[in-house]
């Protein structure tokens, strides 16, 4: 019996199999990168959102978007930088929509009570300090916040942050300087 093979116009079986092989290779490379970059995306998102479920969701979304553009972003530094920016941007969007929802839900609540400022050492030892630090970080400009987060992550030097974000080393340092200074002013 003669075998009937349907081939779409303009395509060949060789071309299809080559494309399939390319897709498989791309998928393997991406999965190898996933182990390294997944935590990076999560931590960036968590640094903005400070909610584990939201951060995981945003990180997954960022990684899936990265996969779509993986063919164009195989160079590791470019890939990491792109992933960091997209995770940061998605996290900010999520934070804004969450903030709007919380404002709607707590519109009947009274003004927030502010405790008297304790000493720096007391603050550092308390969870209240953590909460105040998070609020202060939320008020930082986005550029400063991202550099602050990345430079505080284990395993990333300032040089790597610089190449990841595509900005000069001096800019990384100056952003870090202003970020720390503004945070200290807000927490003082």
């Amino acid at each position: 019996m003669q075998e009937l093979v349907l081939i779409q116009p303009g395509r060949t079986l060789e071309g299809e199999s080559a494309r399939e092989a390319e897709r498989s290779k791309s998928r393997r490379e991406f999965e190898a990168r996933l182990e390294e970059c997944g935590p990076l995306a999560y931590r960036v998102a968590q640094g903005v959102l400070r909610n584990r479920a939201d951060a995981e969701d945003v990180a997954q979304e960022a990684l899936l978007r990265a996969y779509r553009k993986f063919d164009r972003l195989r160079e590791p530094t470019r890939f990491r930088g792109w992933l960091v920016r997209i995770a940061f941007r998605l996290a900010l969007d999520r934070l804004r929509s969450r903030s709007r929802r919380e404002i709607r839900e707590t519109s009947w609540a009274g003004p927030e009570s502010r405790p008297s400022p304790p000493t720096a050492e007391d603050l550092a030892a308390s969870t209240e300090f953590r909460a105040r630090l998070e609020r202060a970080m939320d008020q930082l400009p986005e550029k400063l916040r991202l550099v602050l987060l990345l430079s505080a992550m284990q395993g990333y030097t300032l040089e790597e942050v610089s190449s990841m974000l595509g900005i000069p080393m001096g800019t990384v340092k100056s952003r870090l300087f202003f970020a720390r200074k503004q945070l200290a002013e807000k927490l003082r």
């Binding site: 997944g38 990684l63 779509r68 000493t119 603050l123 970080m137 505080a152 200074k181 200290a184």
Partner: protein, 224 residues
């Protein structure tokens, strides 16, 4: 420099992460109790800051993150971006609308279902004598069935839209013949008809007729 200016220099050094001061600042700090206390408090604050930021930036990554991404990849990730899929949906919806509209425009006008009393056309004629006009080709039921689909211009020209089409079942035809025969015997009915052709499926066209008086009776004699 006054104490405030010295304190500014200390803050800058702490924010830069160096904590290495110029000699003049070190000298002043050693001799000024308030500046020394200020430095200690600010150094503690910056230490707390560093620790807090590191804690925030190095949260434990959930184990489900990477498997979750793999699962979503295996589920079949849409490789087009969301705006592309949105445009695709819009294009599909537009195509469906255009197709539906073209079918609606191409469809022949609805003439309604022939009612029971329309089976025999009843129109006035000048001459009440029986007239049977030559048979014309009237579209059969098969033709009408095809007209429901896409209609070609040639087919449309063949179908006379104004002529009502009547399908007479064989039993109705026989009953009608009996009715006419009975009526003629009683002298109350004048019917216009002609002998049925041998080919039962050939459509007939009957000339218009005028009925001055009509008595409705059942075609089935056993009904009474």
């Amino acid at each position: 420099m006054n104490c405030r200016q010295y304190q500014e220099r200390m803050l800058d050094a702490l924010a830069a992460g160096t904590a290495v001061f110029p000699d003049v600042v070190v000298e002043h700090k050693r001799n000024c109790v308030s500046c020394e206390a200020y430095y200690e408090s600010q150094a503690g604050l910056f230490r707390g800051l560093e620790e807090g930021i590191k804690a925030i930036a190095n949260e434990e990554v959930p184990r489900s993150l990477v498997p979750g991404v793999r699962a979503r990849l295996n589920d079949g990730l849409p490789l087009r971006s969301s705006w592309m899929s949105a445009w695709g949906m819009a294009a599909a919806a537009a195509a469906i609308l255009v197709l539906g509209f073209s079918l609606l425009v191409d469809r022949p006008p609805y003439q309604g279902v022939p009612r029971e009393n329309e089976r025999v056309p009843s129109q006035p004629v000048e001459n009440s004598s029986p007239v049977v006009q030559p048979t014309k080709e009237i579209p059969s039921a098969d033709h009408r069935g095809r007209r429901m689909g896409r209609r070609t211009p040639a087919a449309a020209a063949k179908v006379p839209e104004a002529v009502p089409e009547v399908i007479v079942l064989p039993e109705e035809r026989a009953a009608f013949a009996r009715f006419v025969a009975d009526g003629q015997e009683q002298g109350v009915v004048l019917a216009v008809t002609r002998v049925a052709p041998s080919n039962q499926d050939v459509p007939l066209q009957i000339a218009v007729l005028e009925i001055h008086e009509l008595e409705v009776q059942s075609l089935d004699p056993s009904w009474e």
